[in-house]
Structure formats: structure tokens, C-alpha cells
Symmetry: C2
């Protein structure tokens, strides 16, 4: 591991980044609901966004900015209102929010990105938003504490902020990568270089100098090893957004995809995204168990993905995991209806390394040992479909009373 | 409506059918767990079975018999064990069960079908099965009471037996159609002339004389208006089976697809399947609300289906329904990630005839009225995607604490 984790770090830990989190007043609870992340100098940006056909106004706005390729300075994030299914007015509101922050920071509107998460279909209370932006700009600060405050302000049903920073050496210079995320529900990312899935928001900062091509590659390839492999409930949000900022304040020679140091930087970048993605599942709505599900032996990677997602999103598998019920029939059943090719007489299944199914039948492990393998906070499932070399990994969780409670009560 | 419903009727209501339900001893609870349905004369049979790649042994056995095209005499059904993922032994056990019943009835093994539902991956306790078969044969009786007893014996997590009979006139003769079903969990039928989805079992009997081609058509086309439009949890079982028997005891001239009376018979047949399918959803695991979801304005019927199923299986939509939360953003969100083509600026949505979304935005109906529209045992959702003429209807339900409880505790 060519990097070290910085305890307590986050998005404002890399040089030249500032963050803030404040109470704008969008949430009835009075909890923090607005975050601002700023680079003191223009930063290269890369992004990935939801593929949902009802992509929220801020997503549409950001996609245009990111596609433009210019450097940016800030992103303003609100929780409590998604600004989705809000029509033309929603688009105007997203642009007005960016323009307001740009004014306050003395930059252009094209240098400011906007993210929203919360309830769909409710007009943005722009008075609250614009007042909040002012408070947020006034509260900007660098360092770990500001990072933690910002990470708390983007939360919705999350129970804890999720933030991380790492440090490594690139071309003789110390560079840092910070990140924060929120998730909890509507979590089933499937982002591409432009697209995630789920109301997940994630922000990555680095003080390394990174070319746009290199940052794009980091985002695209790291997604497949992090947010794109997680699912809480199979619901893909209208607002999913991942944004990565590189401001060059570490003073390293510009990293390109061909730089000798790129692989080390990429590894650290993947670590940050992977850690945040795992944390998101662990803090998913009502989650009591984290499950790493590896499907192998599929006809193709795509087949492995289809199979893994069917299992990961099966209410019957997820409730069995909640009950620490080894009920492997439900896992095979979900594989069986997923549409993935498999050889029912060659399928094998392991829980946490314990043989559960061999040749499509009970492997004979005593039930007590099967239960012991999964009656834990985190466990691993390996399923071999027996027909090829395709593989896919998902990180998922159980389905619990609390998930139902949180989502039946969300509105009231 | 060219038929009348016979109160208290079921599978043994049509002439020449007998049924039984007994305690074989497969369930720890001591509840009835074996049913037998017999035609006193050879009957034409049509069937539809799960598409799951791990189709259970009895499904594989029945598929062969039904494909053979010969007349049959009986089906023996056990709950408590699915005989799925049981390998060669499972296939032998299914055949041995049929052979045992055939012996007891004095018919050939090829005239006996077998169904199983219950836990996957557990070898069949054949001593219990064969003893049970003997008891079941001894308990056979015609009429409504026997129908009700049989309907109870096929239940797993169902809370009540589901059975129905109707009567109509065909070619001057009174003919009857009876049916019973069990469902509760793993309910997402998608059967074709050979295929349903879900551990749903359904048996239809009629004393009408019906050609194989006509019975095949009844099953195939009625499925699309009944079991194929329901989903409880999106999980498609290894054991789904629908079997329809026609024994000709009503003495009518043989019904073919071209008979003038075929449409009336088909309507009655559809009514029986539709009623049973609705009852299955209403008695789904933990269900408190029944939702009819009509998607219209889709690019194609297939697109409408994809969209409807995404909504019907969305944990966020289902938990909102449980909470009587009108949260229409979740419905649009699920439509948006379903992959169905839609025009986000033209989408409209109604709850129980109350306008909720117009042109992709809030229709302005006061929240109280939105809540009133869905705070009921059964309600209807109409979603127009605004891009074409494709339509699809699903019947689904909410996701509740009790669903989680039932499925986290199933094993223990």
C-alpha cells in the first residue's frame, strides 16, 4: 500500500481546499443541511451522474459544466430537497444557486457546481437556499474539522458522517486525497464516467496536479471497484453524483494516465472511493450486516453482474441475512431467475469460506456452522456458476425492520 | 358476465373431481401439508411452470408429462419441502411419489403429476411422503368441503386458503370451473405457456370437455391477465406451477379454440385465475395494501412492463405505500431507472383517479387528498409515460414489518 490514511481527514484536508457545513433551514429537524466545498484555486473536475431518466435539475446543470471541461472552484450541496421533477423552475433554481455562490466567491457561475438530495418534486425554497449559501461561504475553513462538519451537512438518513483522507508521494511531492459521501437509501449505484445510481453523493478532493484525462480515468475505473458495486435497495436515485476535484496545490508535475506515478495515485484514489462505498453500505438504512458477494464462473462479467445484483436485491435473501438464516436455497433461487447462464449441476456456494453448496446441492456442512459463518456484522458469499470465467463483486446488506420503518415514515 | 360464482366452491366442485388434504408430517407445526387432486376419468391437462434455472425436481417431472400430451388423473402436492436443488435423488423422489400415487389409484405413473413447495435444498423425507400419499388417497372426496381442505393443505406462509368455483353454460350444458392457489412469498409470476414465477402453485379444474389446444390457449392467455401481472417481492421461485385439468364430465361438445362458446368459457377461466391471483397478492406475506398499477403511454407493452415491474418491486415505493405516504417522487424515480423510454416533461400520474403529477411535476393536489387516495386497503395507480401506446398492468402490494419478520424467521 503506497499511501497512508490520515486519521480524521476529509475533503478539506488536501491543500487549497476549504469546506463548510451549516443549518440553512431545509430540514424540519433543524439538522445541518447545506455544505460548501471550495478550492482556493481553479481545479480540474471529473464527474459521474445518475442514469435515471428523471435526472434532477442540479445533475443536469452539473453535467453541462463537467462536459464543458473548464476548471471549477466550488460545489454547493443541500440535503432536505432533491430539486428533482421540478421542471424548468428547478433548472433555473439550480443555476441561480450556482450564480449566488459564484458571486459570493467572486468567481463565474460556470465555476460552481450544485448538488441536492432529499425529497423529490418539491420546489426549492430559494430564500432559504440563498441565505444558506451566504452563511456557508462565511463559514468556510480548511482542515479536518471543516471536513467533518461538511460531511455531516450532506447527510439525509445517514446515521454518521463518512469522510476519509489519505496521503502519498507523487513525483517526490506529498499529495493528499480526501473524500466524503452520503448514502443510506436509494442506493444502487451504476454510474459510468457520466452515471452513478442511488441518492449517493460523493466528493473527492486532491491537491495533486492531475490532467483531466487522468482524473476521468480515475473516476471511471475507481467507480467499478467502489460505488458501482454497492446496492442497498436496488433503487437508483434521480440525484446520484460523484465529483472529483484536483487543484495542483501539492506542486507535483502534472499526472497523466501515462505518468509512472499514475498507478500509485490511482490505487490511493480507489482506496478512498472503496472505503467510502463500503461505509455507505454499512450505514445503509437499517443495515445490520454487510455482505460481500463474489460471483465467479459466469459466462461473462455482465452475466456475473446480473446474477450478483439479483441476489443482492432479493428481498428474500436480504431478510434471510437479517435473520442470520443460511437458507442457501434463496441465493440459488435468485441466481436461477436472474437470467444469468449457469450449470445447475455444477454451481457451488461458500459462506465466509465455509462450503454450503457443491454441484448444486447441499455441501453437508452442519447447519450450526452455516449459521456461524453468517451471524456476523460482515461476511462474504462466493458463488460459482460453473460455466465460464466471468466475475463480479457486489457489496450489499440485509433488509431489516428499520429499513421499512425509515422508509414508511420518511415523509411524516 | 356469462358465469356465476359458486359460493364456497373449489377444485372438487366440478363433476368428476375429488380432493383431499391431510397432515403428512412435513411441517414442524403439524399443519396440513399434503393435498391430492384426482379426476375420476382421464383429463386433458395444460400447464405453466417457473423459468428459474433451478427448476425443482417436480417441475421438471411435470414438464415432461405435460409436454407428452397424454391425459392425466391426479396431482399430488406437498408443502413444507420444495424438492429443489436436490439433484438426481430429487428427480427420483418426484417420480417415486407419482408412482406411489398411481399404484394407489390404479393408474399409470405417467398419469400423475407432482408439486412441491417449501424449503429449497432439503432431501425429501420419502417415508413421510409415501405414508402421506396413502392417507391422502383414503381421504379423497368430491365437493366444496374437500376443495376447502385441499386448498388449506397447500398453504405455506399463506394466512388463508384461496379457492373459487364458477358455473356457466356451454353448448347447453352446465359446466363448472374450480381453482385453488397458494402464494405468500417468492411471488413474481412470469409464466409462459410453460412458465410462471414465484412459489405460487395453482390448480384449475373443469368438467367441461376442452381440447388440449383450447386448454393451452386458456392457460397461456389467462396468465397474462392474472398471475403474470402480480408481484409480491420480485423473487421468482424454483417451483412455480399452474396446472389446468379438463375432464369432460359436463357432457358438452368438445370446446376448441374455434368453438362459438370458447370466448365465454375463456372469460370464466380468466375470472377464476384473476380472482386467485388477486387473492394471492392480498394474502402476500405481511401485505396490508393491494395496488393496481397501470402503466400507459409507453413506447411498447414490453417497456410498460419493465416500468411497472420496477415500480412494483421498488422497496422505496412499497414501504411508502405501507406508510400511506403519497411520495410520488419514488414512483417517478423507479420509472426513471427502469430503462423504459419516457418523456420526463410529459409524464402524468394519478392515485385512485386523483391527479398527482402532470407534465412531470406536482399536479398541485393538496397532500391531504393525496394521502386519502392511498390510505386504503386497495388503490389504483395510473402512470402515463407520454411516449406511445404501450400498456401493462401489475397487481402488487406494500412492503411491511411483517414481510421482514416472516422472512427473517422463516427458517427458525
Amino acid at each position: 500500500m503506497g499511501f497512508k490514511v490520515l486519521d480524521g481527514g476529509g475533503v478539506a484536508t488536501p491543500a487549497g481546499f476549504q469546506a463548510a457545513g451549516i443549518v440553512a433551514g431545509l430540514k424540519r429537524s433543524g439538522a445541518p443541511d447545506m455544505a460548501l466545498l471550495v478550492s482556493t484555486v481553479p481545479a480540474t473536475v471529473a464527474g459521474a451522474f445518475t442514469t435515471n431518466a428523471f435526472a434532477a435539475a442540479p445533475v443536469q446543470y452539473d453535467q453541462r459544466i463537467v462536459a464543458g471541461g473548464g476548471a471549477v472552484r466550488a460545489v454547493i450541496v443541500n440535503s432536505g430537497n432533491a430539486n428533482a421533477c421540478t421542471g424548468e423552475q428547478g433548472l433555473k433554481d439550480a443555476a441561480a444557486t450556482a450564480a449566488c455562490v459564484a458571486d459570493l466567491l467572486g468567481v463565474t457561475a460556470d465555476e460552481v457546481l450544485v448538488s441536492s438530495t432529499g425529497r423529490i418534486g418539491v420546489p426549492m425554497p430559494m430564500g432559504i437556499i440563498l441565505d444558506g449559501a451566504q452563511k456557508a461561504v462565511a463559514a468556510l475553513a480548511a482542515g479536518d474539522e471543516a471536513s467533518a462538519i461538511a460531511a455531516r451537512a450532506i447527510m439525509t438518513t445517514d446515521t454518521r458522517p463518512k469522510s476519509l483522507a489519505v496521503e502519498l508521494t507523487v513525483g517526490g511531492k506529498t499529495v493528499r486525497i480526501g473524500g466524503m459521501t452520503k448514502g443510506a437509501g436509494m442506493i444502487n449505484p451504476a454510474m459510468k464516467s457520466q452515471p452513478p445510481q442511488a441518492t449517493m453523493l460523493a466528493y473527492i478532493t486532491t491537491d495533486a496536479a492531475v490532467s483531466r484525462a487522468a482524473l476521468d480515468r480515475c473516476v471511471e475505473q475507481a467507480l467499478d471497484r467502489s460505488f458501482n458495486r454497492i446496492t442497498v435497495d436496488g433503487d437508483t436515485s434521480t440525484n446520484d453524483t460523484l465529483l472529483a476535484f484536483a487543484n495542483g496545490q501539492a506542486g507535483n508535475a502534472l499526472l497523466t494516465p501515462d505518468s509512472p506515478d499514475f498507478p500509485a495515485f490511482f490505487d490511493a484514489f480507489v482506496h478512498v472511493l472503496g472505503w467510502l462505498a463500503r461505509e455507505m453500505v454499512l450505514d445503509g438504512e437499517g443495515v445490520t450486516r454487510f455482505v460481500e458477494l463474489n460471483v465467479t464462473g459466469a459466462k461473462s462479467d455482465e452475466d456475473a453482474r446480473i446474477c450478483a445484483e439479483a441476489i443482492a436485491n432479493s428481498p428474500l435473501c436480504k431478510t434471510a441475512w437479517f435473520g442470520a438464516d443460511p437458507n442457501w436455497g434463496r441465493v440459488l433461487c435468485a441466481a436461477g431467475y436472474s437470467g444469468a447462464a449457469l450449470d445447475s449441476a455444477r454451481v457451488s456456494l461458500d459462506y465466509q469460506g465455509v462450503p454450503i453448496v457443491r454441484n448444486g446441492m447441499d455441501a453437508g456442512t452442519p447447519e450450526k456452522e452455516q449459521v456461524a459463518a453468517i451471524a456476523r456484522r460482515e461476511f462474504r458469499i462466493d458463488l460459482d456458476l460453473g460455466v465460464g470465467d466471468g466475475t463480479f463483486t457486489v457489496w450489499t446488506c440485509d433488509l431489516t425492520y428499520d429499513y421499512v420503518k425509515i422508509n414508511a415514515d420518511y415523509h411524516t
